[in-house]
Symmetry: C2
Subunit: 138 residues, 2 copies
């Protein structure tokens, strides 16, 4: 998912209707970039009900358009997924920016662990917390 239209295409392809509300939310996400909370989207779109924002964000998650990110301490952020691919997160604990990475090597090791433990793996998450180059005081 790279361009705003990709979201709208994903909606149609999956049998969801293309509504003004969903377009508006999508626009906010692409205009904003970076991590966001439901509050931020809601504030940016005063005409749209909170419940609908939640619904839309969840739908976009299901479509792989955005990821949900658990911050340290339990707060939740969402962010546009740069692609629909499986990936992991660098989470800057200073500014909140989330960067994605892919590591086939780690994924292999994860699968191996699951096999060794007789665990039928369905999904996994890997989150790295620290200070990104965005905020490092070199």
């Amino acid at each position: 998912m790279r361009y705003p239209d990709d979201s709208l295409i994903a909606l149609k392809e999956n049998g969801y209707r293309l509504t003004a509300t969903r377009e508006a939310v999508n626009k906010v996400l692409y205009d904003h970039k970076g991590p966001f909370t439901i509050e931020m989207v809601s504030d940016a779109l005063p005409g749209i009900g909170r419940a609908t924002i939640f619904r839309t964000v969840r739908l976009f998650q299901d479509l792989g358009i955005i990821c949900r990110v658990n911050m340290e301490g339990g707060a939740v952020r969402y962010q546009l997924a740069s692609t629909g691919e499986h990936h992991h997160h660098f989470i800057c604990t200073v500014c909140g920016v989330v960067t994605e990475f892919i590591d086939a090597h780690i994924d292999q090791a994860v699968n191996r662990q699951a096999q060794g433990a007789d665990f039928e793996l369905n999904s996994h998450t890997i989150d790295l917390y620290g200070v990104g180059s965005c905020c490092s005081k070199k």
Copy 2:
């Protein structure tokens, strides 16, 4: 952290007071075993205020006695850490049981990723979701 007393020792060692409330919460956790919610602890200890349960659970987390586990979908569970060591989680999405594993190989790869990305890593979490041997219908 293996025995109930370990928690009490950890409290003292870190300059926290050993109170009846903390002992009571600790006992509930060790008697119960397995994952728990704040509700469960609160129900088991009607005489203790909710806020104090939260405070105690957070304190025990800080001391490495329990882990917080994010379930798929965002629900939160806590569970006694079998040791104070760094570890990762198998999370059975059927029954909710959380099993720990340690994998130095993965941790190395994680550190390598962080170095390569100029990311000053402070901590990380790895959670595997699926069906454990506890619930596999072989």
